[in-house]
């Protein structure tokens, strides 16, 4: 048996997408106020957000953020309102300059770019989707979608076919001539998405892009985003304050609290191994059956063990696995890897245990993680 080695983690053959640069955020500090430089040393030495605000009237936006954002993946930044999510994402395209720290993409520090370089970087390397859509009310859907290309100086003759393509891809065919005010929120955000995609930029920044939408529309938009991403493989930074959305979309999730990173990891990491009580409290109510994957719960195969007939993919979440196994009426199944190789076996009782075990009491196969 080749699969005697530990089984975790499942989904991160990250380097499959190689040859592209992600984003490296290093030791980022941001202090808001008239004289941020004056207090940076004190903040680095441990001055708290509350004290900085009360004694010196400055706001501590971000504290020592180091985060590496892999290319071709969705990285979710999650945190409550005021935790610094918008501030962080705006450092990536230089809308906000840090007090100290670096944001490296393709070997260049975004924070050190000249205004002209920064404009060029924004035009060709990044696109952004906004919480309240930020469409131009006096432009039609088509003209709004052309917007990024207009700014690059692409003539309408060339930009229009591109815009039309993306309008169709986000499901707005037939609305090219409508004005934003004639569309529902969900449709307006589709325009926002089409506008960002038409830019053909590698990095897609989404600041609470779906937070203003109704729950059902939001699920729709998440599905559209995942579907597009499965073929586009953009480097997406997605911000949300909603854990379910984070778990659904994020290949990796970074949790911010009061301007600090509390934990970075896959959805499973965060649900199964919360770094501290704050995150444990955060993930307590999560539907674990929709987060934990079969390979995580699988037991290594003992030598000479008889293998069950039924098999499930290791990437499947427990909810689906349970449904498959009960429908097939089996109690045991083989767990297969991406290439169909054997990764272990799973029992229905393991599935149920994993679904209900609280994160703070590791037991059974989970302990091995």
């Amino acid at each position: 048996m080749t699969e005697a080695t530990p089984i975790l983690p499942v989904e991160d053959d990250d380097e499959a997408v190689t040859g592209r640069s992600g984003i490296e955020i290093r030791n980022l500090y941001k202090i808001f106020g008239p004289e941020p430089e004056r207090y940076i040393a004190a903040v680095k030495a441990g001055l708290t957000k509350t004290d900085l605000n009360r004694k010196h009237g400055h706001v501590l936006g971000l504290t020592d953020i180091s985060l590496s954002i892999p290319p071709g993946r969705i990285t979710v930044i999650m945190g409550l309102s005021g935790s610094g999510k918008s501030t962080l994402i705006r450092h990536i395209n230089g809308l906000i300059a840090p007090t100290t720290g670096e944001v490296i993409h393709d070997g260049a520090d975004v924070c050190r770019m000249t205004p002209a370089e920064l404009r060029d970087f924004r035009r060709h390397k990044t696109a952004m989707v906004f919480q309240k859509f930020a469409l131009l009310p006096h432009r039609t859907v088509l003209e709004n979608t052309c917007y990024g290309l207009d700014i690059q100086g692409v003539p309408r003759r060339d930009s229009e076919p591109v815009a039309r393509h993306w309008i169709v891809r986000v499901g707005l065919k037939g609305y090219e001539g409508s004005y934003p005010s004639q569309l529902s929120g969900g449709m307006q955000q589709r325009v926002g998405l089409a506008r960002a995609l038409a830019n053909d930029a590698d990095i897609l920044l989404m600041d609470e892009a779906f937070s203003a939408l109704d729950p059902l529309i939001r699920l729709d938009m998440q599905a559209i985003l995942l579907e597009l991403q499965s073929e586009l493989h953009k480097t997406i930074v997605f911000i949300t304050h909603d854990l379910d959305e984070a778990l659904r979309l994020g290949d990796r999730i970074a949790i911010l609290r009061d301007g600090r990173l509390e934990q970075v990891g896959t959805g499973q990491d965060i649900v199964l191994r919360p770094a501290n009580d704050y995150i444990a409290a955060f993930v307590r109510e999560v539907n674990r059956a929709r987060v934990i994957r079969a390979a995580t719960v699988a037991r290594p195969v003992a030598a000479g063990e008889e293998l069950p007939q039924f098999s499930v993919p290791g990437t499947e979440v427990l909810e689906t696995v349970a449904r498959h196994m009960t429908t097939a009426g089996v109690n045991h199944a083989r767990v297969l890897g991406r290439q169909g190789q054997l990764r272990g076996t799973i029992a229905i009782s393991d599935v149920l245990t994993a679904m209900v075990t609280p994160a703070t009491a590791p037991a059974g196969p989970l302990a091995k993680g």
Binding site: R122, K132, A134, P137, Y147, G148, D150, Q152
Partner: protein
């Protein structure tokens, strides 16, 4: 007198003004100095005003000297182009015909020429200043008190230096009108741009707009309704100021009103006054209809 002073010492009772001699000297120095400066620049000032004077004369001739049918047709076409409303065009036609019928056609055209030109100048001056003020908080802090002074200072007061510098005639009149009419243009341009949804300007930046692209694609179009309110107010201020400007030699309806006041010509005064009101209404309705037409698609633009 000591009796009015509740037995207070004199200095605490009557305000100790500077001596009459000092005041006279000060006045004389400033006035003479100012006059000398103006005199030494006379050639330059003339060189600047003469072409303007000629242009204003030509414009006045074009309005007042052309056959009335032609002027009426052009005016109605202009009203239609801005308002796209038959009602406003019809109202304008009736108002202008009535004005012509009571014999005020020529004077009305002179006033119209002046007001149109002053409005154009005020917009050309006000728009860039408003844009600059919207971009820089520092400039805004300088500009707004200046505008406050321009708007509160009685217009008769700043007519004095204008007359000293430029003498009597159309040019000083125009300058006085523009000074009076430009503040709302600056203020509302500044306000309109500052009120543009921050997320939308941020989007412009995030897509890599230059400052100029941001201005033309986002700030001006989104601020346009507010800017149009500024244009509307500028027109109204010009109209009210042409009456005052008639004191320094601007012709037209204002001059008639002035004469009517001096001679107590009740009927003439009111006829001219109503003609001014009629023009004001035409300008107001057309520019407002234009502003509304610009906003057709934006009701739900921001929430």
């Amino acid at each position: 007198m000591a009796s009015d002073c509740w037995s207070l010492p004199e200095t605490l009772c009557r305000f100790p003004a500077m001596e009459a001699k000092t005041l006279r000297l000060m006045r004389k120095t400033i006035d003479d100095g100012f006059r000398d400066i103006v005199r030494s620049w006379a050639d330059t000032i003339d060189a600047a005003t003469v072409p303007l004077q000629m242009f204003l004369n030509a414009l006045e001739r074009a309005f007042a000297g052309s056959p009335w049918v032609l002027v009426l047709a052009v005016l109605l076409a202009a009203v239609w182009a801005t308002s796209r409303s038959w009602k406003i065009v019809l109202g304008t036609a009736i108002a202008l015909c009535l004005i012509g019928w009571v014999g005020l056609w020529q004077d009305t055209m002179v006033t119209l020429a002046m007001v149109s030109f002053c409005t154009v100048v005020a917009v050309i001056i006000g728009l860039p200043i408003g844009i600059a003020a919207a971009r820089s908080d520092r400039l805004q802090r300088i500009v707004s008190p200046v505008l406050d002074v321009m708007q509160t200072l009685p217009s008769f007061v700043y007519l004095i230096p204008v007359v000293v510098i430029f003498g009597i005639g159309k040019v000083p009149g125009m300058i006085a009108v523009v000074i009076y009419a430009v503040p709302p243009m600056i203020r509302l341009t500044n306000l309109g741009i500052r009120l543009v949804d921050r997320e939308v300007t941020e989007a412009a930046e995030a897509f890599g707009s230059s400052a100029r692209q941001k201005l033309w694609n986002v700030q001006l179009p989104l601020a346009l309704p507010t800017i149009m309110t500024g244009v509307n107010q500028t027109i109204m201020m010009s109209l009210s100021m042409v009456v005052v400007a008639s004191m320094v030699g601007v012709g037209g309806l204002g001059k008639n009103v002035l004469q009517a006041i001096n001679n107590q010509f009740f009927t003439v005064g009111f006829l001219n006054g109503f003609a001014l009101v009629a023009i004001a209404i035409v300008f107001d309705r057309s520019s407002q209809a234009f502003g509304l037409r610009l906003q057709k698609h934006r009701e739900a633009g921001h929430d």
